[in-house]
């Protein structure tokens, strides 16, 4: 089978993006690049790019989502075309599920975080890292016992926080010394590992927004995160289970293979730290490879990618709110 055109395009250099007939063109000092629109689903603009409304009309017709980042790699927003898939019924049922049945859905997300972190770290245990054993046992034995006993979302959130906190603590056992994290700091991150985590989580979050866009789910009605957390808080929920598998595996890979290095790939200014342009390129390429990685999906009898698995989690959630079928987020151990 011929390799199909990419569904995602990252634009990293300054220039002008425009419409020419029924095609996209990108101009910069190097010349003109044509971007086929056929299979394109999303655009990432990671630099200063000029655009006009004629282009947005065209992108909207083609149902393409556009994610904007500023010069520092901070996510600034998404252009969300006039919704292609809208179902009042799904929205009402999703809201009803959030009001009446929020906890079990939220618990399912946290269970998936724990299970998937276990999968990721088990690799290091298997290769001789015995010190992470207590954390692995806690994830595998205690967390699944605790989860069904939880009665309130805040209690669940503190357990989730504990899972992540203990995960970050294991970094000193699996990463080189200059990448060890003392504590998780967001907006803005203050050290290289926090910069990688923030950037990776943001890319995954926007990827999930684009995937949800192609379903009928409402982006604002979420279960684990407060529906008012951010405008698109459902994306925060659905991306959680994939963070260990996509974001953290990518980080461990690029750091341990020395493809990203503290001296070369970070800008340190005042008291914060950001991935520089070459660093972002390395990271995005590695993360995109992981998202496109395919494997056999059990019930589907098809090969799917991690990116598709995100969309399928949205389908599962939609099916749960509409038809009452069980909802379990993607679990790495179910991969075949």
């Amino acid at each position: 089978m011929a390799k199909s055109a990419p569904t995602t395009r990252y634009i990293r250099t300054p220039g002008t993006l425009g419409r020419e007939d029924n095609s996209l063109t990108f101009r910069n000092e190097k010349g003109i690049t044509h971007i086929p629109i056929n299979s394109l689903k999303e655009l990432y603009l990671l630099n200063e790019i000029s655009l006009n409304s004629k282009l947005f009309t065209f992108l909207s017709m083609a149902n393409i989502t556009v994610h904007f980042f500023d010069y520092y790699g901070q996510f600034r927003g998404t252009f969300y075309p006039k919704e292609a898939r809208v179902s009042g019924k799904v929205m009402l049922l999703q809201a009803k599920a959030c009001l009446e049945n929020r906890l079990p859905i939220a618990v399912a997300f946290v269970g998936a975080i724990a299970a998937n972190i276990h999968e990721v770290l088990y690799h290091y245990f298997k290769h001789g890292n015995k010190e992470i054993k207590p954390y692995l046992d806690w994830l595998k034995k205690e967390v699944p016992d605790l989860l069904p006993k939880i009665k309130k979302v805040p209690t669940l959130l503190s357990l989730e926080g504990e899972i992540w906190r203990r995960f970050y603590e294991t970094f000193q056992l699996i990463l080189p010394e200059d990448f060890v994290m003392n504590h998780r700091v967001k907006r803005p991150p203050d050290n290289p590992i926090n910069a990688l985590v923030s950037f990776g989580n943001t890319i995954l979050y926007t990827k999930t927004i684009s995937q949800i866009y192609h379903t009928h789910l409402d982006q604002t009605i979420s279960f684990l995160h407060e529906p008012s957390d951010r405008r698109f808080s459902l994306s925060l929920d659905l991306s959680e289970a994939f963070k260990p598998l996509i974001v953290f595996r990518t980080i461990f890979e690029v750091v341990n293979n020395r493809r990203i290095q503290v001296s070369k790939h970070f800008d340190k200014k005042y008291n914060y730290c950001l991935l520089n342009e070459p660093g972002r390129d390395v990271f995005i390429t590695a993360m995109e490879e992981r998202l496109q990685q395919v494997f056999d999906h059990g019930t589907m009898k098809r090969k799917i990618s991690y990116l598709t698995a995100i969309k399928y989690d949205a389908y599962k959630l939609k099916k749960h709110v509409v038809e009452g079928t069980p909802f379990t987020p993607f679990l790495e151990k179910d991969r075949r």
Binding site: R85, S87, K89, V90, T215, K301, Y312, Y315, K319
Partner: protein, 164 residues
Amino acid sequence: MRITGTIVNYYIHCKRQCWLFAHKMNFEDDSEDVRTGRILHEIRSEGRNNTEIQIEGIKVDKMTEEYVVELKKSDADVEATKWQTLYYLYILKQKGLDRKGRLEFIERNKQNHRTVELELDKRTEPELIRLLDDIEVYLQQDKPVPAIYAKKCERCAYYAYCYI
């Protein structure tokens, strides 16, 4: 809920597809088959003025003095197309337009004929009315029937949603 020709077709073809479609949970993916069907339809109707007539939610591909013509990409589900067309004949009859039906398939895989003719008569009309009642009742259910996991599912745009 207003019944359309597509809803009648889907009810015969697949009840899940019918329910999801009727509740505006349309195709999740831009299915290549759906696209091909639409383009073929556009090519066929180009430069003609007797094409695509819209009455009360039904869209008739083509109408002549004698026939209502339904164009389909393939003859994959003749039965479903038959009832879709009979439904058109039924609506038109209520408007005082008596027509016969003709189905035209661009690809034929299952049968020898490229066209099928049919009529709304003493046998088919009461059967159609019963069918419409059944559809009405079914669509009022708060969820669709479970997935059937059949061979025909493999090419359906709802495949992933049903099988996940």
